[in-house]
Subunit: 235 residues, 2 copies
């Protein structure tokens, strides 16, 4: 390990000692094929080899621990762990601190993802899931306006039915922001939503998922999210 | 601020002091509407109010700094900043430490995203981008096998053409892992790829993007990624 080759190409002044030690450690683990369960060098060894204070090493390891990349095991000390892929995103997913560009990006990503799941839904749907989805849409049948909870119940169930846990969790992180962004940045309101002729309901989507094809499902989903898709223009 | 109400429902023993202070700070910022530029209470004040050591506060703030959520400004001290949404993911995107489930999830997410971008590509394509894409596919025309760099050049250009920076960066993070996962977990090889009749090439996709419809593009992309889609089954 050496302090003279940081990961990023940034002027050394703008990276703190902790940033640099963190980068070096991650690079060191990757270069030396560290795998979950492998024991790390201890704090004293690291600080001696890098010639930095133990406080700096402790701060850097603390960051890696937050990401789930390392963990403290009884009797073994610090070991490599399996990181939590979405830990970082989850912690910063606050509409009031994210930039406007980030928020618009997240808004669009929800649309991109919702159009892309059809194949997975059809490949993995089963009776149990369809019954649960049917129960959700039956409760909503006939309602003229849906609450945020209604939307989350239906779309959240679809995400779950993809059988992809990371995707499900990722979309669940995006969904609360989606609403905020739509209201804040796109001057479209409830009346615009009501102007759509032959709107596609959650019940319609359920029936297509039960008996239709991925293509029909996608066409219907596109119509269902029509008022959002209409906001897509040059950026 | 108080130490008695942590964010997560976990036995107090499994959260370190740093974890708890980190959670409390994030909650405190959200509850009090802290926005980028707002000055934080200083380290001493935080450690006094929470009745924890300054080292613990420093570690917690260090984590938030890594996420881009706070930054040190000359003469102002620590202030709220606009976080980097993908900072956490970028740091842990190492196939050797991610779990098998996470890796398969990421593999599938690339497929989901690639099927979902058609609307954005067609809404935002312009002459400059299409010319650049044409140059890429012309270089590849007639090649019997494509290198990893060829794939990244083409698909990377498509991601860029969505006009969504977070998406572009996200997909670029997933792409290197994609290859690794496919080779490691799905016993499909080059010969299976060559068994596909009427394969859809990058050039074909380019022509459809230039002159076709989002639906045609998606059908073609589905066929282009056919060997990967065939791996989708119950999990």
């Amino acid at each position: 390990m050496s302090l003279s080759r940081p990961n990023e190409l940034e002027p050394l002044e703008s990276l703190s000692m902790t940033d640099r030690v963190e980068n070096i450690l991650r690079e060191y683990f990757a270069d030396n094929g560290f795998k979950p369960g492998d024991q790390l060098p201890n704090e004293i060894e690291i600080s001696q080899k890098l010639n930095v204070s133990r406080n700096v090493v402790r701060e850097a390891l603390s960051r890696l621990r937050m990401l789930g990349m390392v963990e403290a095991r009884p009797r073994r000390g610090m070991t490599m762990a399996q990181p939590d892929l979405l830990a970082g995103i989850e912690k910063v997913m606050n509409p009031f601190i994210l930039s406007q560009d980030n928020l618009k990006d997240i808004f669009e990503m929800r649309l991109i993802l919702e159009m892309g799941i059809a194949e997975f839904l059809f490949a993995r749907k089963n009776k149990k899931d369809l019954d649960a989805l049917e129960e959700i849409v039956n409760k909503q049948k006939g309602l003229t306006t849906l609450t945020k909870e209604d939307e989350v119940a239906f779309h959240g169930k679809l995400y779950e039915m993809t059988g992809n846990e990371t995707f499900t969790r990722f979309q669940s992180l995006l969904l609360p922001v989606f609403d905020h962004v739509f209201k804040s940045y796109y001057q479209v309101g409830e009346k615009d939503k009501q102007k759509i002729k032959d709107p596609v309901s959650h019940f319609d989507l359920f029936m297509i998922l039960k008996k239709g094809t991925p293509e029909e499902f996608r066409k219907a989903m596109h119509k269902h999210l029509g008022v959002y898709y209409d906001t897509i223009n040059k950026r």
